[in-house]
């Protein structure tokens, strides 16, 4: 992997948890603490000075909801990686975060080592997509190919350039959704792990944007799926 050091901004109102994350980041040679704050306002102030590479944010903050903050950051800085800190990693929280523009999520209870590993995986694409997110993208894609005759198809057909995923890409998505890692998928499909990561990138690209979260956001905007059903 590249030797680049990623600057991480931690936004977490619980002091003990914040310190655990700070410790995990400082203990990793590849991560650098950009800042650690407890409110949305402080986070905005820090970002106004300098934009971090990665944002690690809790959702329930004293002066606002993390989802709003994510949406805001995603709009101003599409290149920033945003990860959500979650206790349970449950579907509702994850999907809501991803819809707002988050790239992934991280569980609160990991050891310092686990947290650092997960963070690097998420940032560098070692673990390209967590199963709930893969499942979510799959749902979007299936909703699009399903012959429902709905608004969806009408929206997609006129321009004729709506992206469609290849068979292999859907296969990869399905395996990701079942919990297989990139390496396992590579083994199952007789491909190299790099190819799998490449497929993931291609899936994002085909959804017409560079960042994976805004790809999903865009799909939702296009009416590919009704998020709030």
């Amino acid at each position: 992997m590249s030797g680049k050091v990623h600057g991480v901004l931690v936004i977490e109102d619980d002091e003990l948890t914040r310190e655990r994350f700070m410790g995990a980041i400082e203990g990793s040679g590849r991560l650098e603490l950009h800042g650690a704050v407890g409110t949305c306002a402080e986070a905005r102030r820090v970002m106004a000075e300098r934009v971090p590479d990665v944002i690690l944010t809790d959702l329930g903050l004293p002066d606002g909801h993390g989802i709003d903050l994510i949406r805001e950051v995603r709009q101003d800085h599409p290149e920033v990686q945003i990860l959500v800190i979650s206790v349970f990693g449950d579907e509702r929280t994850v999907i809501a975060s991803v819809e707002a523009g988050a790239n992934g999520y991280l569980l609160k209870d990991g050891t310092a080592e686990q947290i650092a590993t997960s963070l690097l995986d998420l940032i560098e694409g070692g673990s390209p997509m967590s199963p709930p997110i893969a499942r979510y993208i799959l749902k979007l894609v299936q909703a699009r190919v399903a012959p429902t005759g709905s608004e969806l198809e009408k929206d997609l057909k006129p321009d004729g350039k709506s992206p469609s995923l290849s068979k292999r890409e859907i296969e990869v998505l399905e395996l990701l959704a079942k919990g297989f890692s990139a390496a396992e998928i590579a083994e199952l499909l007789n491909l190299s792990p790099h190819t799998i990561v490449a497929h993931c990138r291609s899936i994002h690209r085909k959804l017409d944007v560079s960042s994976r979260s805004s790809a999903i956001f865009e799909a939702a905007q296009l009416g590919l799926i009704r998020i709030h059903d």
Partner: protein
């Protein structure tokens, strides 16, 4: 009888003019009261009067009944000769016969003046017709003029001549017109009405289940035929056949009328119905076989029987009038009484004429009978129809209100039921959650508490215990998610959660998960038990076996009978004596709630925990 005949003539022609000498001219209207009668054979049409000997016959009083006492009445013309005085020219005179039968031809001084109908078959049937023959007064130029009126004597008729009046045409025209209207036009109208009502009620009888409409339609139809002779001048069938048909229809009309009355009273019984129909049927057969000419003398008694039947029914209508709704009751009974009176009167007149008790001009009320009957009974039936219709309409309104009410009730009870079901579902889910938290996290926390109180546990052990509690809580929370029923999906989540932990301990996580058949009958609780078994097996392996690799495998047995979930490690295996302490008993209990089996194979080269679930039980 004489009195009624007198009343009848009064009704028909108003005040009768005074009888005067037969030698008067036509300046004043004068009734020609007597004539000489001569019979002569019918040779041609029009027949020529026997001018040579007009005065040889007997003198008779006018009106005169010529027919019934003659031995052979066919092919004979009865000539009535009147002597009339002179008249100044310049006036239009007229001979007015109030009613004459069947046809008539009039000659004055040997020259033809007019004719009522034809003398050769098929002859006319206009037996109740008034006739007016205008002629120029100049024809009465002689001191004594001979007026001859010829009537064909036809066996089927009474062959009578009514009052004969001579006068100026302008004086007689209005009388004639009035008589024409009363005797002919009304009769024609009632026949047309009967045809109309026959069609109307016939159509109703087809669509309404009330037999009264059928009987009334038949009454109208039969009556229409029986009164055809009022205005069908020259039917293309023989007189006798026509006569027979009309007379038989009187019987059928009476029969249908009686049945109609019984229907109205709700007294229709086979025992009454069959004799009535049998009577009309037998008369019809006998008369047809015998032929109209031979059966003719029996028509009067048969008519008497026929008319007595509806008369009895009218009596019944009166006696049982309470059964009939009030408005209809008045119409039925008043019409019935009027008709019975008319029928009795007409039959009595006919009988009187036959027997010679009644002479001269009589009034036949039969045409008015039809009019009264059709209007009265038709009106009553129409009122009946309206009543039933209104009732049906009310019933409809009531029914639709009832339906709306029932529908409202149904919707309300449905809503209530749905609400109850929802409440029940929520209560069940709440109960499940409490149980899960008690069994899972509760147990973990109690264990942790004991560890803290004994002060024997290291911080690492405590962290592990807390992680176990968190893991279990996650499973419970995930079991609430929309995709909770999807075991592979949940396994994937489990893996994503545990993988960093395994990797940080240097354990390789092998994932060999295959698609599983949908187990649609498995609820959140059962899926949660599956996940707990898998999770506990993995955490047991991590904690106690020190493996380098953990494999999770799912699949379907070769015979497709069960699915299996397997957690395999390559650790040091489980000491048999420590088995239960490691929560393996717990695993079994969970497997039992799934009606599944659990196999634990352990050796020095590792442990395999396999859970089998029967597809048939849950699919």
């Amino acid at each position: 009888m004489l009195a009624s005949s007198w009343i009848a003539s009064l009704l028909l022609v108003g005040l009768a003019p005074a009888t005067s000498a037969s030698t008067a001219g036509c300046n004043e209207p004068v009734s020609l009261a007597s004539a000489t009668l001569t019979l002569a054979p019918l040779a041609q049409d029009p027949p020529l009067p026997p001018i040579e000997s007009p005065d040889l016959g007997p003198s008779v009083a006018i009106p005169h009944e010529a027919g019934h006492r003659l031995p052979d009445r066919k092919g004979v013309v009865a000539w009535y000769a009147f002597r009339i005085g002179p008249e100044e020219p310049g006036q239009v005179c007229a001979l007015y016969i109030r009613h004459v039968h069947p046809n008539v031809v009039v000659y004055l001084n040997g020259s033809w003046i007019g004719q009522g109908g034809r003398f050769t078959p098929p002859e006319g049937h206009l037996w109740n017709r008034p006739l007016l023959f205008p002629f120029d007064a100049a024809r009465l130029s002689m001191p004594s003029n001979l007026l001859m009126v010829g009537i064909p004597l036809n066996g089927s008729r009474y062959n009578s001549i009514g009052s004969v009046v001579l006068g100026l045409e302008r004086d007689l025209r209005s009388q004639f017109e009035a008589a024409l209207f009363v005797q002919i036009r009304l009769a024609e109208f009632s026949t047309l009405l009967s045809v109309f009502l026959f069609l109307l009620f016939g159509a109703l009888a087809f669509s309404v289940r009330d037999a009264a409409y059928r009987w009334f339609a038949l009454v109208a139809g039969f009556y229409g035929v029986s009164s055809l002779d009022f205005h069908w001048s020259n039917p293309p069938i023989s007189n006798w056949t026509f006569e027979l048909m009309c007379n038989l229809c009187v019987e059928w009309t009476c029969c249908s009328l009686s049945l109609l009355g019984l229907e109205i009273l709700g007294m229709r019984r086979r025992m009454v119905e069959i004799p009535l129909l049998a009577f009309a049927g037998v008369v019809t057969c006998v008369a047809t076989v015998m032929g109209g000419d031979r059966f003719e003398p029996y028509f009067v008694p048969v008519h008497i029987i026929a008319i007595s039947m509806p008369t009895v029914v009218v009596l019944q209508l009166w006696l049982k009038r309470k059964r009939i709704p009030e408005v209809e009751r008045v119409i039925w009974i008043s019409t019935g009484i009027a008709l019975a009176t008319i029928g009795i009167y007409d039959v009595a007149m006919q009988l009187g004429k036959y027997r010679g008790w009644v002479r001269g001009e009589t009034l036949t009320l039969l045409p008015y009978f039809g009019l009264i009957m059709l209007l009265g009974f038709g009106g009553a039936l129409f009122a009946r129809f309206l009543r039933v219709y209104r009732k049906a309409e009310q019933a409809n309104v009531y029914l639709s209100e009832e339906i709306a009410r029932k529908q409202g009730d149904l919707e309300a009870s449905y809503t209530q039921r749905t609400l109850l079901q929802q409440e029940r579902a929520v209560a069940l889910e709440r109960e499940r959650l409490v149980r899960e938290m008690h069994d899972g996290m509760g147990g973990h926390l109690v264990g942790l508490l004991a560890m803290v109180e004994r002060r024997t546990a290291s911080p690492g052990e405590l962290a592990d215990g807390i992680r176990d509690a968190l893991d279990d809580m996650r499973l419970v929370i995930h079991s609430l998610e929309p995709s909770a029923m999807d075991i592979p999906g949940l396994l994937a989540g489990l893996k994503a959660r545990l993988e960093p932990r395994l990797r940080s301990q240097g354990i390789h996580f092998r994932w060999a998960v295959q698609d599983l058949p949908l187990l649609s009958r498995m609820g959140a609780n059962e899926v949660l038990q599956v996940m707990r078994i898998v999770q506990e097996s993995i955490t047991n392996a991590i904690k106690h076996a020190h493996p380098r690799r953990i494999t999770v495998r799912t699949g379907v047995s070769k015979d497709q009978k069960y699915i299996y979930l397997e957690v395999e490690d390559d650790g040091k295996g489980i000491d048999p004596s420590a088995r239960e302490g490691l929560g393996l008993g717990n695993l079994r209990k969970r497997a039992e709630t799934l009606e599944g089996e659990i196999d634990i194979e352990s050796g020095s080269d590792g442990t395999t925990v396999q859970l089998r679930i029967h597809v048939e039980r849950w699919a």
